[in-house]
Symmetry: C2
Subunit: 170 residues, 2 copies
């Protein structure tokens, strides 16, 4: 099999000029690669985790497959207005303006040991807001998994109090 | 285990007044239920399928888990502007206005035998547009899987030329 990094396609100027977008869809098309990614995520998930929280929407892809493999519940974090039930919210700063993330009230319980997952670690703002949501629910973030970490954006510094595993670095 | 239907939460007036929203997140929180859903989808996928196409974004959840189980490639269909590479598009009518779906060019090849998956069959417009995308790429839609079908909206009539399996009916 080709190595995982070579299956990530780089697309210049998406979504805007000057951004090198790391496209994971070329990896997802390869069933051996998807299996390898999930196996590596599983290997890097500590024991005793009882809930998986996945960030919309590419985090859902890896999150659902991993939750199935681990035999634990899957809980989505979504952007404002997407979850139908009563939610807990966190608003966080973007480069320009703010964004809000939500989790369903009752989806996590006090004492839950959580693995958080997303496809990409960039500046870390979304992941940090998701950690706050988990903690507001009484859960503890035991591990954060990313397929890709963009090293130059230093997102891991923002998440320094957490245990992070990024499968690929760019 | 409780039956799957009882794990779907019904939320009135979401996303707008008069709609009874069927919330799947309460099912996803239950790992035995997620396993049962994926096993039933697997059982209802014909042999010889070599690609899975999932519709954004709740379709990603079941699609990724099923693609992993089947050992086949995962291909996303997304709303306009979300996929970074060159795409093939289909525009379709909504109650008011139109919507556009996209698939990456090259993600499917002529002769691919495809299973299409989404969480919900309502009027069938999104699924039908996704079938057109698959066929424009030269693939054939061998099966369409839904977790939930809303019977009164008659989406299955719009998809009558396809082989559909809906796990739950409301």
């Amino acid at each position: 099999m080709k190595n995982l990094e070579s299956l990530i396609r780089t697309i210049p100027d998406f979504p805007k000029k000057g951004i090198l977008f790391r496209d994971i869809t070329t990896l997802l098309e390869n069933p051996q690669a998807l299996r390898e990614v999930i196996d590596l995520f599983k290997k890097n998930t500590p024991s005793g985790i009882n809930k998986l929280v996945a960030i919309e929407s590419r985090g859902f892809i890896f999150g659902a497959a991993l939750a199935l493999e681990l035999g634990i519940g899957f809980i989505p974090v979504r952007k404002s207005g997407k979850l139908p039930g009563e939610t807990i919210k966190v608003t966080y700063d973007l480069e320009y303006g703010t964004d809000t993330l939500e989790i369903h009230k009752g989806a996590l319980e006090k004492g839950d040991r959580v693995v958080l997952i997303d496809d990409l670690l960039a500046t870390g703002g979304t992941a940090l807001a998701s950690c706050r949501l988990i903690e507001k629910c009484g859960g503890s973030v035991e591990k954060i998994l990313f397929l890709i970490e963009l090293d130059e954006l230093s997102g891991s510094e923002k998440l320094s109090k957490y245990d992070i595993f990024s499968l690929l670095h760019f």
